[in-house]
Amino acid sequence: MSRFAKALSDAASRLTLPEPVRSRVLLEMAADMEDLHRAYLERGLPEEKAREAVLEHFDLSQEALRELAAVHDSPLERSLTSLSGQAHRPWARTLLGLLGLFVALGTGSLFLEAGLLSRASSLAWVLLAILAVGLAGGVWKIRILYFAPAAVESRTRTGVSFLLGLAGVQVVLGFACVWVELYRSGLRIRSAPGEALIHIVGWMHMASATLVVALSGALILGFLWFFLEGRTQRLQAAAASRLLEADR
């Protein structure tokens, strides 16, 4: 056990960074502490004085640790890490999986309905194309994270947040479609005010069909991101443990 274990453990508890960055920072500190201690001993300081001098030199104040965390992580990344970290336990993932299945069964029948896409805005095809890109990317990440994790340990996180970005695009585009179609309906009502009710009902129908496509796609991509991000975090934590183990 390191003679600086207490100071390091204290710093670890206050350092809010995702793995393996956090472990790498701690590993760097631990190595520097040991080396500085040795340098002080070589200068003739007694053991306890050298240890005290190192601890004084490594003033790991809250402000310094906060600055260190800010260098490595944006607030968005921190909140996403904390969000995906909620499902670390198998029962939490199972529960979430069941919830996803329930949502899929609920909206799946609507999705398979032949008329849904014909009723939705023509931009719904763009939404489906985005979903297809996201699913293809998700399958590629599943292959890497579940079947070849060791080969890409340092880059596991790359690409996972892309899924969340696509889910966001689905939602934004879905609502944009609704407003574009509302504008178009407004133009039709202006040229034929007597058919206003028909156009309003038509718009509502189209808007709801488009939102079913957009939000279902966003949910599917969101669930995929959640599971892959959780898997990424577990792989990175394991990599960090191996890094620290190797140093002992």
């Binding site: 760097e28 500190m29 190595a31 520097d32 080396d35 500085l36 030199h57 003033d59 104040s61």
Partner: protein, 117 residues
Amino acid sequence: MPEEDASVEPQSLTKHFNEALILSSLERGPKHGYQLALDIEEKSEGRFGFKHGTLYPILHKLEGDDLIRGEWTDEGPRGKRKQYRLTPRGERYLGTLRDSWRTLLQQFTNLMGEGGS
């Protein structure tokens, strides 16, 4: 991301001062974090001491800006160590900092001189 033609503003003196000390120490050769702190302390004859708490955020920021590069090396029984070296971009940035500091110190000296005469 630092601009390579950036001048030293009085408001960011401390930040640029610390960066200049670290980069110039690395110009003398690659170093571990603790060696950097000791080198700066020794070369300045104890005038500029670096607490590691202050050092790591600066080092990691400089690394993120590609001004220095940190590399993990396995040093046998001593275990893994991270060593930093200056990048070509860091060399150019150090040159800019050096010029800015010279100008700033010259102006400062001129001002101080005016007060005495």
